[in-house]
């Protein structure tokens, strides 16, 4: 039974108020076709966990522009001025998280950890409201796990089992988000029958992936920088 799925049946699952993780770094490794479908559906009050809000017209910024986001959990919004404008206007809540802490919190969510201790953010406003533990004379912040209802990934290639292979720097947050959501969807450029990806080369095991959306690479290229 192949995990190849129609994009509409996936988007139908997403309701107002959903908590979504979306892969990508400045739009590279972001599932653009899925973003477009979310914009078309017009779901509102989303909480989005992602690294950044990309550049205007690309990736997460399309959801910002369409005012579909209630809360962002991100490390950086500087490349998309509209995000800053909405934040300053009180239209959108932004939780800024150091990028390495964001990655570890997502990984912890997917790994059943109750949290991790990181030195990042000690002595800065990032420590506000957080438990500080001292281990061997050094201070660490207790950072808590993140989970999502649905993770939307971008991969280079998938097989029927949902095994994924990423290409170049488009890997970024995708593999860890695959672990941290109740339902995981990957948009891919290439699709193979089961067993065509050698088990040593799989980057995300198909047991983590519920559905695969296949878009030909011309469409995916539209999202290029």
């Amino acid at each position: 039974m192949s995990k190849l799925t129609d994009i509409n049946s996936i988007i139908n699952r997403i309701n107002n108020g959903a908590v979504l993780m979306i892969g990508g770094f400045l739009g590279v490794g972001t599932p653009e076709n899925i973003i477009d479908a979310l914009v078309a559906k017009g779901v509102k009050n989303l909480t989005i966990i992602t690294n950044d809000t990309s550049f205007p017209g690309r990736g997460i910024s399309k959801l910002v522009a369409a005012k579909q986001i209630k809360k962002l959990i991100v490390s950086h919004i500087g490349t998309n001025p509209e995000t800053g404008r909405q934040m300053n206007a009180g239209e959108i809540e932004v939780e800024l998280v150091p990028q390495g802490t964001l990655a570890e919190r997502i990984r912890a969510g997917g790994s059943g950890l109750g949290g991790i201790l990181t030195p990042t953010g000690v002595g800065t406003i990032v420590e506000e409201g957080k438990k500080i533990l001292e281990i061997d004379g050094k201070k660490y912040l207790l950072e808590l796990p993140l989970k999502a209802d649905v993770a939307f990934l971008k991969a280079y290639m998938a097989d029927e089992e949902g095994n994924l292979v990423y290409h170049a720097s488009a890997r970024n947050f995708n593999p860890i988000m695959a672990m941290a959501a109740d339902y995981v969807v990957a948009e891919v450029e290439h699709f193979h029958t089961a067993g065509n990806i050698p088990p040593d080369e799989v980057m995300t095991t198909g047991i983590l992936v519920n559905s695969v959306i296949f878009e030909d690479s011309k469409d995916a290229m539209k999202g290029g920088a």
Partner: protein, 218 residues
């Protein structure tokens, strides 16, 4: 030599053969063009690889391969891609030898502020907090004065910090300053400036190194 060029070339002299180096966006990125001849430095890109190479020729871009600023990039032979958790495990775990970052402010305690101006500009910290805490050597590379002429090297940062007591060196077009437990030590000075010029442009009190030298770059 224009001021930015001087900064970038002087920072490059801090690199050692075999170093793993992360360059921040903007001015620090240009350091990559001045790695000393015969020296091999491996550049780490926070978005998930080591072996960051030069900008690709037009028409040869790979849509999946960009640097931390989102610009098209290349990977050198011997490089490796990984996910964001590994990228920052490398940073936080002390596997990056040198990070070079820009700053809005730095101070005599080795503090650094470069990610927000409350009420004005809040781009977010991105990877800067992890890099500053995790890299073995933290170099702030910036113009000595803010636009408008205010000092940026302070007794105490006024903006929200990026990290506490993590800066090792500050390199500007006027000076090379080492951060020590006894405060800031002026190690090198640009030929066209006097000690007085540099101190006047610096809020923190500078100690003068007994080995004070002129900044020299190739």
């Amino acid at each position: 030599m224009n001021p930015r060029e001087l900064i970038v070339r002087r920072v490059a002299k801090e690199l050692n053969d075999g170093d793993v180096v992360n360059l921040g966006i903007g001015l620090p990125t240009l350091v990559a063009n001045h790695v000393p001849k015969g020296m091999k430095v491996i550049f780490h890109s926070e978005n998930g690889f080591v072996g960051l190479g030069p900008t690709p020729p037009q028409g040869e871009e790979d849509k999946d391969l960009v640097n931390a600023g989102g610009q098209y990039a290349t990977v050198n032979p011997g490089g490796a891609f990984f996910d964001s958790a590994m990228s920052f495990a490398l940073i936080r775990g002390g596997h990056v030898d040198v990070t070079v970052l820009g700053a809005l402010e730095a101070d005599e305690n080795g503090n650094l502020a470069n990610w927000m101006v409350p009420g004005k500009m809040v781009p977010g910290m991105g990877g800067a907090m992890d890099l500053t805490v995790g890299a073995k050597k933290v170099i702030v590379a910036m113009e000595h004065l803010a636009k408008g002429g205010a000092p940026k090297i302070l007794k105490q940062c006024t903006l929200p910090l990026t990290a506490q007591k993590e800066v090792d060196m500050i390199i500007t077009e006027m000076a090379v300053i080492r951060v020590t437990n006894e405060g800031l030590v002026l190690e090198e000075i640009a030929p066209e400036f006097s000690l007085e010029d540099v101190q006047k442009a610096t809020e923190a009190i500078l100690k003068i190194s007994p080995n004070l030298k002129k900044i020299e770059v190739e």
